[in-house]
Assembly symmetry: C2
Homo-oligomer: 437 residues x 2
Amino acid sequence: MDILIKGTVIPVTGPGEILRDGVVAVRDGKIVYVGRPEGLNGFTPERVIGGAETAVLPGLVNAHTHAAMTLFRSYADDLPLMDWLKEEIWPLENRLEAADVYRGTILACVEMLLGGTTTFADMYFFMNEVAAAVQESGMRASLCRGLIGVAPNAEEALAESREFVAAWHGKAGGRISCMLGPHAPYTCPPEYLKKVAAAAAELGVGIHIHVAETRRETADILKQYGCSPVGLLNVCGLLDAPVLAAHCVHVSPADIEILAKKGTAVAHNPESNMKLGSGIAPITDLLDAGVTIGLGTDGAASNNNLDMLEEMRSAALLQKAAREDPTALPAYKALQMATIGGARALGMGEMIGTIETGKRADLILIDLRKPHFYPPHDVVAHVVYAARASDVRTVMVDGQVVVDGGQVLTVNVETVLDNIRESALRLVGRPRERSLL
Amino acid sequence: MDILIKGTVIPVTGPGEILRDGVVAVRDGKIVYVGRPEGLNGFTPERVIGGAETAVLPGLVNAHTHAAMTLFRSYADDLPLMDWLKEEIWPLENRLEAADVYRGTILACVEMLLGGTTTFADMYFFMNEVAAAVQESGMRASLCRGLIGVAPNAEEALAESREFVAAWHGKAGGRISCMLGPHAPYTCPPEYLKKVAAAAAELGVGIHIHVAETRRETADILKQYGCSPVGLLNVCGLLDAPVLAAHCVHVSPADIEILAKKGTAVAHNPESNMKLGSGIAPITDLLDAGVTIGLGTDGAASNNNLDMLEEMRSAALLQKAAREDPTALPAYKALQMATIGGARALGMGEMIGTIETGKRADLILIDLRKPHFYPPHDVVAHVVYAARASDVRTVMVDGQVVVDGGQVLTVNVETVLDNIRESALRLVGRPRERSLL
């Protein structure tokens, strides 16, 4: 289907590159033209979307999440990290069945699509169900099975990962790609990391891993191995693969140099890092060193939503606060991180992340006729500092309209909500004081 | 008119006090019953609002803003503080006319109401226009004319303030109250502060002032007077009045003790402090010392929206990040700050801020049937960590429904948007690169 999109196009190809009253032409899932309407030669669209007071942006890329953890949204907040994991989250995760993961993931897809996120990187388990939810929702995703090297099923999980890659890599019309997902340096011993690195090379896929999330992790790794988490991964050869390193909160200048040299991409999760009290990642230093940075929400249990517009704002504000410098991480850089930065971090930089001819058509339309967008002094600053998920009206992934007029077209949302309630109730057993289950 | 509101009532009277399937009865602008429906004796409402999957909360209180600065939203971002003020904001403010301030304020009122804010504390100029906008919008507000003690018109401005208090204090059916607004310790010399304190005592009104917003202010005051900004205000007798002290970012333990002893209330503005790189206020220390704390957005030029739900979330996340402690400022405390804390800070703690029999009916209804609120494990955590302005469906101020089904009833929003565009265009002259003016 040929679709024409009209509006103020923010292609994310340069800080000042804004195309007022522009058009984007989409054919066979691809962007075939971006520019002034008068440059459109013989394109007769079957549908025209957008118009005045509409901003057109690349779909947002959530570079690190555990989608199915929507199941635990607001279940246990404001607790010390280890109590939260050990006493609250892990016991519930142990009770998860495949159907719950499907339900949690499809809910996450609905929420992300409604907020303009078109692609996400996920690490969890029951990954066939995750992939099925992605396929059904129409989203794009990079998926990996989480691997705990110290667990009794470590080898089995790696074998499962191979099967998962064989089954899903490049599937759903190319919307699903796969990675290997060793959980973290503190849960995967060096020998296991080496094995994963070898498997990634053999399979031709990237690696998604948590790195240097907490001060404690960094101290423990130093004590155990005499080096930093980043250093350990480097020594194990893991960074020779294309790596998506989530968090990198506690990284030294030497670590940053390694990440830059190895081309390792970082997924920054400002709200999760804040909520869990993990610390503040040195994002401006990482950017200065030339490290590719994407932006992520992490799981809904530590956020508690999957709103990438909000995450952009938090990313920009947090760097300014940490450095007491209002010029740190300006709006456009936050927008880059949430689009092309994330796309590159997921190995999709040639395919999505900007609005350019030849790329796949992952596009979102934001309604600018809102009080909180007035007066329209700076449309980029508005998107980063003032926008919210509900401003997204239309979402297209791979040329397919999946959200129209603020409604998801691919999934029955009422059923998703009813199912998740049922799963949540079974998982927790007895609802707590402020629960409405 | 007798109105009955149904839903899950979060009265903000205790962290676990949630009334599932409760009702709030409103008569003559007042809350006359809160509880189970079966306890309603002979109340025959003319209208019933809410129902299943609705949260009912006290209206949010924006404890510090400059409403008309919506005119400068996104006009100049990511700049060093003094360049931003001197080269960008002040030149535009010099061009402001009374009509612009009315337009900027009514836009702010619309935005705040749509996001569940029912009351705000404002410091600006052309305050008659601000009061007119408040009256028209149906909001509640505490208003003061900003006073620059070092300006040539300092005496005239104080005289104007007296007239403003005489004209508006207690007006708009009691929805408008007034304060005196000495801008800050660094713009108001001690003699002037003493004069303002005396005038406040004589008029029986409180004082709204910026205090210790930046590291530089604190250093400059120390150099000039040998004490902290808080210490200076104390010595001048200013803190003998009911004071609403905005910011208090750079306060020492001794300052905190003074604030607690004097009953000075603090308006915390996390997003503005972050965006301007001002620093991180020691909110948990202030709370521990027993200081009353409200939450504010500050002006839209440094935020860039007036979304108090977002501000709550940022407040909670920022304290956790600053202290690397996930238990710092839990959800309920953030909610308290945004409701009863702000109400007390504005001297309205007996009148609004909680849902209790006898209080004025300032209430908001949030639609919980949304993907980002599922599953409903904890309704308070959901409101603080996951909600957004667009989740607010109904807003009542002083018993009047002013937002219904997400639409403002008191103001023609389309006219407001068109007018603000016209004012903004005149003020800036030539629009900038990313402007859509």
